[in-house]
Symmetry: C3
Subunit: 215 residues, 3 copies
Amino acid sequence: MMRDVITEIPLEPVLEIGGVFVGAMAGALAGVRKQLDAFGILVLGWAAGLGGGMLRDVLIGAVPPVGISDWRFIVTAVLGGTVMYFFHPRLERARRFIVVLDAGALALFTVVGTLKGLEYGATPVAAALVGVMTGVGGGVLRDLLTAEVPVVLQDRQLYATPALLGATLTVVLAEQGVLGTAGSVAIVLGVFALRVAALRLRLSVPGPWRGKAGL
Amino acid sequence: MMRDVITEIPLEPVLEIGGVFVGAMAGALAGVRKQLDAFGILVLGWAAGLGGGMLRDVLIGAVPPVGISDWRFIVTAVLGGTVMYFFHPRLERARRFIVVLDAGALALFTVVGTLKGLEYGATPVAAALVGVMTGVGGGVLRDLLTAEVPVVLQDRQLYATPALLGATLTVVLAEQGVLGTAGSVAIVLGVFALRVAALRLRLSVPGPWRGKAGL
Amino acid sequence: MMRDVITEIPLEPVLEIGGVFVGAMAGALAGVRKQLDAFGILVLGWAAGLGGGMLRDVLIGAVPPVGISDWRFIVTAVLGGTVMYFFHPRLERARRFIVVLDAGALALFTVVGTLKGLEYGATPVAAALVGVMTGVGGGVLRDLLTAEVPVVLQDRQLYATPALLGATLTVVLAEQGVLGTAGSVAIVLGVFALRVAALRLRLSVPGPWRGKAGL
């Protein structure tokens, strides 16, 4: 299923596999911090690497979701979790590197997820939202399973916003019939660049309003 | 999809839109209290206003759920969240008013959800449970996303009980072929009245049993 | 639906009903400990007894899931929750007994869930994972609804591992066409025995790695 999408839009599957791997590493790290056992750490990795795609697939009716049916993705997630399980003391120091990789995964998952939504006949609005969920859903599932408020809802970083812009642009261009491979790649790069720029420039989303209306 | 249901059973769509709006306000308020960022506050509003319907749609196979595919509901939820984002200091004082509006949303979502369940061929038992979930699901999703035990499970108020009675009555009358518009409206009003009466009279659900069997 | 599976593979339905009952008791106990109200305690029972099957059904597209559509299972879960609601002070002392019953439910749910996955055309990998989720999903849902990190991810017990072995064996034998009734029963007994042995012998899953790679 996922393979079909990849064949149609020639984003390299190697990039998507990379996204799952990075997401799984971030998930497993959350598990290590919560002192989960080895099984729990790998499950967190699987949930973080593949949770966004599973949420997407359940919402568009593409069941069973690739996160449980495609062994290549599952093996990738388990490998990512295993690497973090054994090397977490060293990898925590490489955190900046992981954050950048994660930006790549966010960009890729968002565009691929949006296109899969369209492919399954979702409305433009639904496809864009499904794309955003594909991008951020793995992190949300990781946080729910560790009984935390999802980071994406509270950390005031520009994380979901680039995904929302990218998904919207993907839908608009696809509806106009002018997306193509070049367009998809450009959007992936744009979301990635926006996310990295937000990190560099410390752009932030405001917290609860404290202005005049509140007086 | 939702529109079809509304056309068939002429409950005013304006009421349902109102339910989404109120639910979104309550969700956004929870986000403000948790100090989420602006994006998180709007997501909480969306989850609280549309989560019950999304849970219903996934459970009956009506995918993608209206909560991501119908732009009118999504815009409504975002508006409700935006209003709460800017005016939360004032609106918290109007809490009693919000609680009453929420009772209306509970009543409406329960009956509409039950009817949609029947429409999709759910068994009578499933349709009633799906109706209750439509009514209370938004609040549950809101609480899960803020890492809280769902209020509906612990606050000892009569909240799910009126919904359960209303959903059961809806199924029974629909199965007998005597529901009609008047019946639907009457049940909505009955659930609303029971919920408001429970608030007024401080009717409560008991906590864990401490009686003789426990000795 | 569930009944069909049971008829095909003559695992006694009485055992599955027993699994739902025991799961519901464990869920209701968690609700009692969290001081939920009576409604919340019964909902926790329902979620714990039927949540694994509901997760399975949503993931394989068997909607509405049996957990909301089959009244026999729902009544069983409510009964289990009710028994725990009234007798929790006594039943907590019988904890060892409940743990053993729960091992039986784990074994049974895993094998039945795996077979239902295959029946709905899931890939072998997906069917095995769906089987494990059927076995452990009720407990995960119970923990999420009480805002706890799922026990199965952190308690270092051999709980999911026997389920994973049993589900894998079920898929392998079913694919070879040599599963049959005897095979199913043998796997259920094997998972049960492994789980009980792990309890007896205090076998454990390791926590986060602290070895050489971490230096």
